[in-house]
């Protein structure tokens, strides 16, 4: 789904190195890029090689993408830091699996910190998008390429093993005409007839480095103003809201539906951008909701952003299942039910 959506979004360069549970994407790109004029697919010799090929393709002006799963994404972090420093657009897909270390190949959300806190070295941010279904994988892939170009920044798609393996019906957006994309005046495509350009990340003069850091920071402030996005589901009259993203949000939605049938006033808040975090939307919600239950497929990572957003003004509870285990909607419904009554929310 990401593969087809990427090609339709004008992606003309893909480099990757195989790792489960995301080989379907690499395989799709291998088959499809071949049929596309100017399309390039490279099975690189390593994850590190792949991200560096993406850096090169991006410098040359192409919409470029690489993908991997957790341990492979760790290897790409140096390259992501370079993309950020050199202000190069690129899309990186992480299909998260159980970790740390090699972990396993089951769906997990263990890489939230790595994704939203930069992951690589240096003072930078990465835009992080969190799809929760096949349809959103397709839609957000388009958005990812648009943000990457608009903000000249790496954009990370944070999916998981469930989305990497599952199939479901999807309506793809119409393909774009690559020749109509806005001209990029900074690319390196040969300097004949014009002064040469340099894209680099080595700034030995601290004053120059500081200048870049503040420039990036101003950009991140713009991004933080412009793109935070979240879905609210049945939150208008809710006394309690579950906060979850990706596959966890999908399962939580099923749980919310179940407890609603039991008469509990519960909603779901689903961040779609994980960085920038949709703080304002969450704060708005906290005006009428006092209790939040954060559900993640890890031991508690996004819960920190929830607490930072709410600044201690609400009760933040947490339920997590790490290691690649997948909760059922029933299990979450039970958690909600227990919490709801413990907090005496039925009396409000």
């Amino acid at each position: 789904m990401i593969g087809e959506a990427a090609i339709r979004a004008g992606c003309r360069f893909y480099a990757g190195y195989p790792i489960t549970p995301q080989n379907e994407l690499t395989e799709y790109m291998a088959r499809s890029m071949d049929n596309i004029e100017d399309g390039t697919f490279v099975q690189a010799e390593s994850e590190i090689a792949a991200i560096n090929m993406v850096i090169g393709a991006s410098m040359a002006g192409a919409r470029a993408m690489t993908s991997s799963s957790s341990p492979g994404i760790s290897l790409k972090q140096e390259g992501i830091s370079f993309l950020a420093a050199q202000e190069l657009p690129a899309v990186i897909v992480n299909t998260m699996r159980g970790g740390p270390g090699l972990g396993n190949i089951a769906p997990s959300q263990g890489d939230y910190f790595q994704a939203t806190r930069g992951g690589g070295h240096g003072d930078y941010r990465t835009i992080v998008l969190a799809p929760d279904s096949g349809q959103e994988l397709a839609d957000l892939t388009r958005t990812a390429f648009e943000y990457a170009d608009k903000y000249r920044s790496p954009v990370l798609m944070l999916a998981d093993g469930m989305m990497g393996q599952m199939m479901e019906p999807v309506v793809f957006p119409e393909p774009i005409d690559v020749s109509l994309l806005p001209h990029k005046p900074w690319t390196l495509g040969g300097a004949e007839g014009r002064p040469s350009r340099i894209i680099l990340s080595l700034l030995l003069n601290p004053a120059k480095q500081e200048e870049l850091n503040w420039k990036l920071e101003r950009k991140y402030e713009t991004i933080t103003r412009e793109i935070p996005k979240a879905e609210k589901y049945m939150t208008d009259d809710a006394h309690l809201a579950v906060i979850a993203y990706g596959t966890a949000a999908r399962i939580a939605k099923g749980a919310v539906k179940r407890v609603r049938e039991m008469g509990l006033k519960v909603g779901l808040f689903r961040p779609i951008t994980l960085w920038p975090y949709p703080k304002n939307d969450l704060r708005d919600l906290s005006r009428h909701i006092r209790d939040f239950l954060v559900f993640e497929m890890n031991t508690g990572q996004m819960v920190e952003d929830v607490k930072l957003s709410l600044e201690g003004k609400s009760n933040v509870h947490f339920y997590g299942r790490p290691g690649g285990t997948i909760s059922t909607p029933d299990e979450i419904a039970k958690m909600i039910n227990t919490l709801y009554h413990r907090q005496n929310l039925e009396e409000e």
Binding site: M167, E168, A255, I326, T328
Partner: protein, 180 residues
């Protein structure tokens, strides 16, 4: 919502059965999810997939309590027998599965798919026999939809493939109908 698990070992066409069924119900206009799970081995490892079919949005594609199970190996029966929903149905390839079902609150449909396939001189269609039996027994989709889906999946391959697939599907469906 109805969830079905197809389970056996790698090389039996377990994922193919689920995929064809998923395609068929998708073309019927239903919400569906198809979730495969398999070992790293090309053959011999465990393989299973879950297909959820619903008129509404599907929240969890995982089979925690499947309504139907199509079982092609002893270990798969052991794994899924206790998980099947009360009143659910298990379709068993009795040519391969020697273990007996110990529950009495689920329906059991035994299909000697291996022997039937050998009689049709094509052992490779035993998964199609099981799929035919499942479609006819569950009524979750029509035989026409399955055939259309298979034609779409095998497009560009030898035409004889579709012919033998149809032979298998028909044999499985007929076996179940006669039994009822």
């Amino acid at each position: 919502m109805k969830k079905t698990v197809f389970a056996g070992f790698g090389g039996q066409g377990v994922l193919m059965m689920g995929y064809a069924f998923a395609m068929a119900v998708m073309n019927d206009g239903k919400h569906i999810t198809y979730l495969p799970a398999y070992g790293a081995e090309m053959r011999g490892g465990t393989a299973n997939c879950t297909v959820a079919v619903s008129d509404e949005e599907i929240f969890s594609p995982v089979a925690s309590a499947p309504d139907y199970a199509v079982i092609l190996s002893n270990p798969s029966l052991i794994k899924y027998e206790s998980m099947i929903n009360n009143g659910g149905t298990v379709f068993i390839n009795s040519s391969l599965v020697t273990k007996e079902v110990s529950r009495d609150d689920i329906h059991i449909v035994k299909v000697p798919a291996g022997d039937m396939a050998r009689k049709l001189r094509n052992e490779r269609i035993s998964n199609m026999i099981m799929l035919g039996a499942f479609v006819s027994g569950s009524q979750l989709t029509s035989m026409e939809s399955i055939l259309d889906a298979l034609a779409e999946i095998t497009k560009g391959k030898k035409a004889t493939l579709m012919k033998s697939n149809k032979k298998g599907l028909d044999a499985g469906a007929e076996y179940v109908l006669q039994g009822v």
